[in-house]
């Protein structure tokens, strides 16, 4: 049996070498995609253009606006009046407006509460919310600074001291890059196998294989093993890129990372094998691979949209998305370390999925032999 399996694996490797697209999928694709996306995908706004309208400039408004100019988040642009600023917001030249009315300083001096306006373009609600948050941060800093310098008896009752664990600088790349690895490896796994079995069926070489004394398990193992090792190679390459190029910290152990990756690859390859066994046709197998792998991994894995914020039925659906567990493992191992409760729960889910996909493929293939 070992000899037969060896021969099958050699055949698969020869086919891979003859058609270099498999090597491109396993190595070139993850590296280039991660390179591109690692730079391109970020939720950290920098130098957001903000219109500043000061109707009656003086030292109070100047100290307020100075806080804005010092922050790396903003690129303040002065506007004479709010009408032109509004026009600029409408034409997307600025993302928000900070508007200090003419009575701002007078009311400050009188000891009233001086209102000022923050207007944002709410189309991109997430960015708008972050912008509002940054602008309010400028206001709060200004309040503190003013209380210190003017000696006025202003103090807030409760103030917060924040401690952010695992990612103190709140760099979005630190969690997006591990998530991207999961999305990209989902693609690679499915692509590597989805077309392979379908190709054998379509070309009729599957029947030829079945006429030989090899068993169906050997055929499947022969397909699985070469692609598994190639996938692990691609995974290792991605991790190296994440660490070296994008400076994502790896707090956990390489050992935990490799074990989880191996498990996840089994699921991804198993899914590809199942798709191609069921479809038996490269056209449909290809379409299915796009629809059931990339899009769910992108939208439902928690890579970018937080699963905890989804409605309960959708949260339930995410449980069938293998990438969900891998994203959770990767974010934890990279940023927080080997936290066993998280690792074990997610690995168990991955193991169950691997057994289901490979088992179904095995059953489905055996049936067709009759």
């Amino acid at each position: 049996m070992k000899r037969r399996l060896g021969a099958l694996i050699r055949k698969e490797f020869l086919q891979i070498l003859r058609d270099p697209s498999a090597i491109a999928i396993a190595f070139v694709m993850p590296a280039s995609l991660l390179f591109l996306f690692g730079y391109g995908v970020s939720l950290d706004a920098r130098h957001v253009p903000v219109a500043v309208v000061v109707e009656l400039p003086d030292s109070d408004t100047a100290s307020f606006v100075a806080g804005l100019a010092q922050s790396p988040y903003f690129e303040p642009q002065s506007f004479m009046d709010v009408t032109t600023a509004r026009a600029a917001l409408r034409q997307r030249q600025v993302e928000g407006i900070l508007w200090l009315r003419h009575d701002f300083s007078r009311r400050l001096l009188r000891g009233d509460t001086a209102p000022f306006s923050i207007i944002v373009n709410g189309v991109d609600a997430n960015s708008a919310r972050l912008l509002e948050g940054y602008l309010q941060g400028v206001w709060q800093n200004w309040l503190q600074q003013r209380a210190r310098t003017s000696g006025q008896p202003f103090a807030v009752p409760a103030y917060s001291t924040d401690r952010i664990w695992f990612n103190p600088a709140l760099r979005s790349r630190n969690y997006l890059v591990p998530g991207l690895i999961a999305v990209i490896m989902t693609l690679i796994g499915a692509l590597l196998t989805a077309m392979v079995v379908a190709r054998e069926w379509e070309r009729g070489t599957m029947e030829a294989l079945m006429a030989t004394p090899v068993t169906i398990s050997e055929i499947l193992l022969g397909k699985l093993l070469p692609y598994f090792f190639m996938g692990m190679g691609g995974m290792a390459l991605s991790v190296v890129l994440a660490l070296s190029l994008f400076a994502v910290p790896l707090v956990g152990s390489v050992w935990a990372l490799s074990a989880a990756s191996a498990l996840f690859l089994l699921v991804a390859l198993g899914m590809g094998l199942l798709i191609s066994t069921l479809a038996r046709n490269q056209f449909v197998a290809g379409q299915l691979a796009v629809i059931v792998t990339f899009l769910p991994a992108f939208m439902l894995s928690g890579f970018i949209f937080d699963i905890g914020s989804m409605p309960a039925p959708v949260q339930f659906v995410t449980h069938v998305v293998a990438a969900r567990y891998f994203v959770s493992i990767l974010q934890t191992v990279f940023l927080a370390g080997d936290l066993w409760p998280v690792l074990l729960a997610n690995s168990a889910a991955l193991a169950v999925m691997a057994v289901i996909f490979l088992g179904l493929t095995w059953r489905q293939s055996r049936k067709r032999l009759d």
């Binding site: 200004w142 001291t161 937080d306």
Partner: protein, 368 residues
């Protein structure tokens, strides 16, 4: 010529629709995906689990915690009585935020002394963490204003009035769901056109087509039209669902959207056909579709803003039709943008369409 193209289009439609699996792939998933993704894709925080470590148990801490309990953003996941109980809860993600109120909180506040509230937060997902901190800070502000009024503190010297245009409650679903129109239209159109020529070539039926009186350009038009019709139909159905089901306001004109859809489809079909004529096998065709589709989605501004990307990557997104179409869809839906405002999006799309369609035609002629 029209009769020949018509015959070819009918043949293409039959080829697509007679296969049950293809039929299912084209109709079922877009609808399911619209519903699932429409609900899944949100950046708005709901029921963020938090734990409380209250050493004070005074009137002030109770009042502050009531503000948190009243907020739909947060969900109380438990109370702890020792500091070392917090870490495991955050580690295994049972709590995202921990609030630690010190033993002298109420006493300090009653003595008109500021008192800290320590906020511990899981930063693994930095976007969620940043938004949660914003929410914590606005709850603290609301508590402070109330406390200042009731206990005779000086009012704060300045207060912001927040307003947001086009999306007053900052519902991120209004931003993402119109984007799904672009996403699913892109996927379906690419799948229909990207493998079409390669499949005929692999099956050998392309040679049969070539010996008919059909000219190469007619063959390509015959390949393009089904993609256009199916893509256009899906775009229309999904747009209707976004308006009627997800209740996203539609402020612009149908004409502005229709022009955008048309130009977008032409550009995507051009790219799909180009991939298809470059590939000699379906496997290569599929690889090409993937290699275009994945970056086109991730670097489009669909989920993360284009303006956050480095200059070089931003420049690269200029050849991505989805980038322009997303601005059009969102502009038409939320801002009520008209043709004049969207002109900077239309012409690059038209240019991309013209370039990719002529490149596909040229490749196809040469490959013969």
């Amino acid at each position: 010529m029209f009769a020949r193209i018509r015959a070819l289009v009918i043949k293409e439609f039959l080829a697509l629709l007679k296969d049950r699996a293809t039929r299912v792939v084209l109709v079922g998933p877009p609808i399911i995906q619209l519903i699932v993704f429409g609900y899944a894709a949100t950046f708005d925080l709901n029921h963020v689990p938090y734990v409380v470590y209250d050493e004070d148990h005074g009137s002030a801490s109770r009042q502050l915690l009531a503000h948190f309990e009243g907020s739909p953003t947060f969900r109380l996941a438990g109370q702890v009585s020792r500091e070392d109980q917090i870490a495991p809860l955050i580690d295994n993600q049972s709590a995202l935020v921990a609030l630690h109120i010190g033993p002298h909180f109420t006493r300090d506040l009653l003595l008109h002394r500021p008192a800290p509230v320590q906020v511990l937060i899981d930063g693994r997902n930095s976007n969620t963490a940043a938004l949660a901190l914003n929410h914590v800070s606005s709850i603290l502000t609301a508590f402070n204003l109330q406390w200042m009024k009731e206990h005779g503190w000086h009012a704060p010297p300045a207060l912001p009035e927040l307003r947001s245009w086009y999306n007053p409650n900052l519902v991120s679903r209004w931003f993402i769901v119109p984007g799904i129109v672009a996403l699913l239209t892109l996927v379906v159109t690419l799948l229909v056109t990207g493998l079409s020529v390669a499949r005929e070539r692999e099956m050998g039926t392309l040679d049969q087509l070539l010996v008919t009186p059909l000219r190469p350009i007619e063959i390509l038009i015959g390949k393009a039209l089904p993609g256009f019709l199916i893509g256009g139909l899906e775009a229309a159905v999904i747009t209707l669902a976004v308006i009627l089901w997800f209740r996203v306001p539609f402020n612009g004109s149908v004409a502005a959207l229709a022009l955008g859809v048309t130009l977008f489809l032409l550009a995507v079909i051009g790219i799909g056909l180009l991939i298809s004529t470059l590939a000699s096998t379906q496997q290569q065709g599929l690889l090409g579709v993937f290699l275009f589709l994945v970056p086109a989605v991730i670097l489009s501004g669909f989920s993360t803003p284009v303006s956050n990307m480095p200059e070089a990557v931003q420049w690269l997104t200029r050849i991505n039709p989805m980038r322009y179409f997303l601005v059009i869809v969102r502009g038409v839906f939320l801002e009520g943008a008209d043709l004049a405002v969207l002109w900077p999006q239309y012409w690059p799309l038209a240019l991309l369409g013209a370039a990719s369609l002529s490149a596909a035609t040229w490749r196809f002629r040469r490959r013969l």
